[in-house]
Symmetry: C2
Amino acid sequence: MKTEANSAPRRLKDTLYEHFARIGKATSSPKRLEMLDLLCQGEKSVEELALHAQIDCKNASAHLKVLSASRLVTARREGKRVFYSVADDSVCDYWLATRTMAEKRFAEIDRVVKCYFDDRETMVAYDRDVLLGKARRKEIVVLDVRPRSEYDRAHLPHARSVPIDELERCIASLPRNKQIVAYCRGPYCVLSHQASTMLRERGFDVLRLPDGVLEWQNAGLPLATSSSSLSSKE
Amino acid sequence: MKTEANSAPRRLKDTLYEHFARIGKATSSPKRLEMLDLLCQGEKSVEELALHAQIDCKNASAHLKVLSASRLVTARREGKRVFYSVADDSVCDYWLATRTMAEKRFAEIDRVVKCYFDDRETMVAYDRDVLLGKARRKEIVVLDVRPRSEYDRAHLPHARSVPIDELERCIASLPRNKQIVAYCRGPYCVLSHQASTMLRERGFDVLRLPDGVLEWQNAGLPLATSSSSLSSKE
DNA sequence: CAAACATTCTAATGAACAATAGAATGTTGG
DNA sequence: CCAACATTCTATTGTTCATTAGAATGTTTG
């Protein structure tokens, strides 16, 4: 049933590829990937993850156990809840690499995304460093519409945190004489799209940035955290 | 049975993560990874792949069909045989990224490899660019002990092709007054280790380089192909 | 066109896995 | 210590997947 030719190099290879395959097994379920993607934005409880992925807690817990067994995530208990987070930055790099390759290899991903969002004309058209300059000179307002905890962990330089469900309330405080650029978790996240649509209806000059912090960082640009509003790098 | 909350964003996410999970599914089998790894060195027939992975052709063919359905590899027919190759360089990048993360996250990979090879004192200790300099000035002889076809596709600059099964025959042509550096497919390939052991027994001054062409290229260093013995870059 | 060969397709079996529900664990607050 | 809660563990069921063997396809050679 197993390999009969049990030479030493064969045993070595079998062991090694068995280990590598664990990564594949862990990332072979859509729901697990959805949770991993979310975890790349920051620590989350089982409950939050289950809610986002639209599965029940039991099921989410089981999936998280698989991710955890593959060393992709780690758990930390805080009172009643357990918080999961990515085991290390190399996991985010890996996830981004996977996504990038998948986008390149599967034309249908691009197609389905383009078809869903369909807002090429209201997307940021200039380069990331141009955007960074505009933001630094306060010519535009960069809006992070993710939950505050994700903003706190890492956000684009000079970005202001306005979680999507506070947007309605904060709308009066947004400038009407400046361009607004909204971003969220990345090219597949719907939050910035929702924000952009809503603000446009109210007459704001608003563009959507398809980047998230992962994409931004991957482009070699600096991030900021809540403690220091601007990263020391760059 | 499927997701009841069939909102549009949910459908989008389901579609996207379903696609990403295809990559995971394809890379969840050790044998498939072994073949993919080999394909990163160059085009191979089903037969060759089956031989290397020590499975029968039927099984190999089935696995290759899975890799092919996930767009990781492509097939080309030439006469009786079908040759598979990686679909594009991003697949090699992806594979290297996966391997790198797995090495970082699984201490046991390192352990099992160290235990198997156990030749730290006879491994190249200087940097890659130092090696490149020594090779260029002909102070050392760099030996590519992989099959000739893999050498032809890409090899380290100034490397000489001496496939492992021709080594015995070529041994007289190797210099005894220079250091020899042998490399093969990468840190887990046994070929360079075999070559190094064999040459040391014959009294040669030989070191093993754990790099393969993937690792070398990933370090930002140039490669050569058979047509031009030295890459145009750098 | 027939024989030889490499590969793929089809079907069947057994193992691994996702989803689900119920029981158990561990933590907080009274 | 008990009640409420989040999470995990256990057991069950249906599905998917790897492997195997036999039939079929496609290609070359005589």
